[in-house]
């Protein structure tokens, strides 16, 4: 077979090869993102995502969306720019959450016996769907960053509240008031995570009374927009095609 001949002999065979490549590329993308994104998110979001007693209404709401919009922005840039495929965000989040659940179930529960209701991951799927839909409908990265990035930050807390609310029911214990999540953190001993490194309810956002979660979400949303732009360009840079001149070879 010469170099000018096709590797396939019929249209049906071409379609079959194309589909096989589809699955191979998708599988590779999914697992590569699962690994890379998971490490990134564990290093930057870390304890906020690990433990129910870190999931507060200020810093968790602020930090988690900002550090998690990264890979979705980059992968969206690649999949939309090259293929007009609007699933960059959701494929990242599905990969991340699969990895997180494997980690939480097998490691946190299976090896070290922390109850799953104490170490479940945050839910990022609503924001990912909105991010993909905005990109698809607008076909604009600017609008996706502004509207999608804003939505990403804003829907994070509502998307997680049904999961964490039962753990915010108060309880009296030995003469002090706790939430059930606080008590989980106290009961289930973490030798390497002393109480003082728990960054919850810190900051100067004191003029909004008890309604600080929406304010934190707005701040997170604004920063998410900026981070989206930054990581979008990382994505563009990573999937660019460079040609070199033959003269130098």
């Amino acid at each position: 077979m010469s170099a000018s001949q096709s590797a396939v002999r019929s249209r049906a065979e071409a379609v079959q090869v194309s589909r096989t490549l589809d699955w191979m590329i998708l599988f590779t993308l999914f697992t590569a993102v699962l690994g890379g994104y998971h490490i990134h998110y564990m290093l930057t979001g870390g304890d906020w995502d690990f433990w129910s007693d870190w999931k507060d209404r200020r810093l968790w709401v602020t930090v988690a969306p900002i550090v998690s919009i990264t890979f979705p922005a980059a992968v969206q840039a690649m999949l939309w720019y090259r293929y007009r495929l609007p699933f960059g965000a959701i494929v990242c989040i599905l990969a991340l959450m699969l990895g997180e659940w494997i980690n939480r179930y097998l490691n946190f529960w299976g090896w070290t016996y922390f109850p799953v209701n104490f170490c479940f991951p945050s839910n990022l799927i609503p924001g990912a769907i909105l991010l993909d839909v905005v990109l698809m409908l607008s076909s604009s990265f600017v609008l996706t960053a502004v509207i999608g990035g804003m939505a990403w930050g804003l829907v994070f807390y509502p998307g997680n509240w049904p999961i964490i609310a039962p753990l915010h029911v108060p309880v009296e214990y030995n003469g002090m008031m706790f939430t059930l999540a606080d008590l989980q953190g106290y009961h289930y001993v973490r030798t390497g995570t002393p109480e003082y490194i728990r960054m919850v309810e810190k900051g100067t956002l004191r003029t909004f009374g008890k309604d600080v979660a929406p304010v934190s979400a707005f701040f997170s949303a604004f920063v998410s927009i900026i981070i989206y732009f930054l990581w979008h360009y990382f994505g563009r840079w990573f999937n660019k095609t460079d040609f070199i001149s033959g003269e130098g070879i």
Binding site: S18, R19, I25, D56, Y83, R84, P86, F87, I90, L94, M97, W101, Y113, F114, P115, V116, N117, F120, P121, N123, I125, P126, I129, L130, D132, V133, V134, L137, V155, P158, G159, W161, P162, I163, A165, P166, L167, H168, V169, P170, V171, E172, Y173, N174, M176, M177, L180, L183, Q184, H187, Y188, V189, R190, T191, P194, E195, Y196, R198, V200, K210
Partner: protein, 414 residues
């Protein structure tokens, strides 16, 4: 010859594979907590644990035990470690094999970080409820912000029974009785499964059609706009609207189901009460101190002055949780961990009672393999070569007095 060589090579390869495979199945339990690796000066010059009592050696799942005792916050706290202004009374166990049902310093419940004062002595108690069967090394521990975990002595405790029987019942302020072990777990699984399914549906909608090569060809040939159909847009709008609707429903139904919720509780606890230690009537001056490396022994020249009204004898030197006792004066009856107890490890050149008003200079030797086993000998490699510890004196009636010593240490290599 070649056949034999081939056979040897093949068998060697098989043996190598078998060795590797069997090595994978050998997974011994890692039960230490790095207590021996912690810098010796950290253990000698920060928190001194004493009078410790592990209430049980064996405990059944759901039963409780306590660790109680005292700790002295060393006044000569090392410069390289942040002061214990933000500290947390922890417990050194391999994960939640017990739950910490309560912890107190000076009678005050301390679920949060506390501020400790240098030079003060505090009483503490930790209540543990057994959760996971096994043999566990249970340590006292104080986490200090900017200093890290400062681990105290550990003792083996056996938990019997089955973890499946463990329960952690609580009654909330809304009157609901729950088991915290699996409370709201179904709710966690439900919402995650629901959202994951929706996300997966969005992905499947796109990946069921040809993806990369045909679409790339279309994009590069200027037909990108044809790749998104009107139906695609309708489906996308459906997903977006559905997502927003589910979010609103989730918020509404949750607030209806849990009308009373509070924010996470946090904050530093100050004003923890120390023990009112009686004024000591014994004065100790460290004239010199050397550590003899080959003999695993520390020698101190002490000038002891008895300002009290009863004769005293030196019974114990306690440093980094290792207790060196003079068996003629003191016998341990607390069940202190054997590896940290040198029952005859303290030798005093003249340990006859020091009469009231008398001042005597004596040679005190603390020797035991623990210096090496617990890597306290590594003190000579620390940047600030000083030692510290507690001396316990006993009068004729058996009353005890505690004196803190802190002095430079000179190593001796011959």
């Amino acid at each position: 010859m070649k056949t034999i060589k081939d056979k040897v090579a093949k068998l060697s390869f098989v043996a190598l594979l078998m060795a590797l495979t069997s090595a994978m199945f050998y997974t011994p339990t890692a039960s230490a907590h790095g207590e021996k690796s912690q810098a010796a000066f950290m253990r000698m010059r920060t928190i001194h644990w004493f009078d410790l009592d592990w209430s049980k050696d064996e405990v059944a799942v759901n039963d409780t035990m306590t660790i109680s005792g005292k700790f002295h916050v060393f006044a000569g706290w090392p410069e390289t470690v942040d002061k214990p202004e933000v500290s947390f009374l922890n417990i050194g166990i391999p994960g939640p094999v017990f739950i910490r049902a309560g912890s107190w310093i000076g009678g005050q419940l301390v679920p949060r970080s506390v501020s400790l004062e240098l030079g003060d002595t505090y009483e503490f108690k930790v209540l543990l409820k057994a959760r996971r069967p096994g043999d566990w090394h249970v340590h006292t521990m104080m986490n200090v912000e900017g200093g890290g975990p400062i681990i105290g002595p550990g003792k083996w405790v056996t938990i019997t029974g089955s973890m499946s029987e463990f329960v952690n019942p609580l009654t909330t302020l809304t009157g609901q009785t729950i088991d915290l072990e699996d409370y709201a777990l179904d709710n966690v699984y439900f919402w995650h499964a629901l959202w994951y399914s929706i996300g997966l549906a969005w992905l499947i909608f796109w990946i069921k059609r040809p993806m990369f090569i045909p679409r790339h060809i279309a994009v590069t040939s200027g037909k990108a706009d044809t790749l998104i159909s009107a139906t695609d847009k309708k489906v996308a709008i459906g997903f977006a609207v559905g997502t927003l609707a589910l979010l609103m429903y989730g918020m509404g139904s949750t607030n209806e189901k849990y009308p009373i919720t509070t924010p996470l509780q946090a904050g530093l606890m100050r004003g923890i009460k120390p023990i009112e230690m009686p004024e000591t009537s014994v004065a100790v001056k460290v004239e010199d101190a050397t550590y003899r490396v080959p003999g695993r022994a520390m020698q101190m020249t002490l000038t002891i002055t008895n300002n009290g009204d009863s004769a005293i004898r030196l019974g114990e030197f306690n440093t980094a949780s290792v207790r060196f006792l003079d068996a003629d004066v003191l016998e341990d009856e607390s069940g202190y961990p054997d590896d940290l107890l040198a029952e005859e490890g303290l030798t005093v050149s003249d340990n006859s009672p020091i009469a009231p008003g008398e001042s005597r200079t004596v040679e005190v030797t603390a020797s035991d393999a623990a210096w090496e086993v617990y890597r306290l000998a590594d003190l000579i490699y620390d940047p600030d070569s000083r030692f510290a510890g507690l001396l316990f004196f006993f009068d004729e009636d058996g009353n005890r007095q505690m004196v803190m010593v802190d002095a430079p240490l000179i190593p001796s290599f011959i």
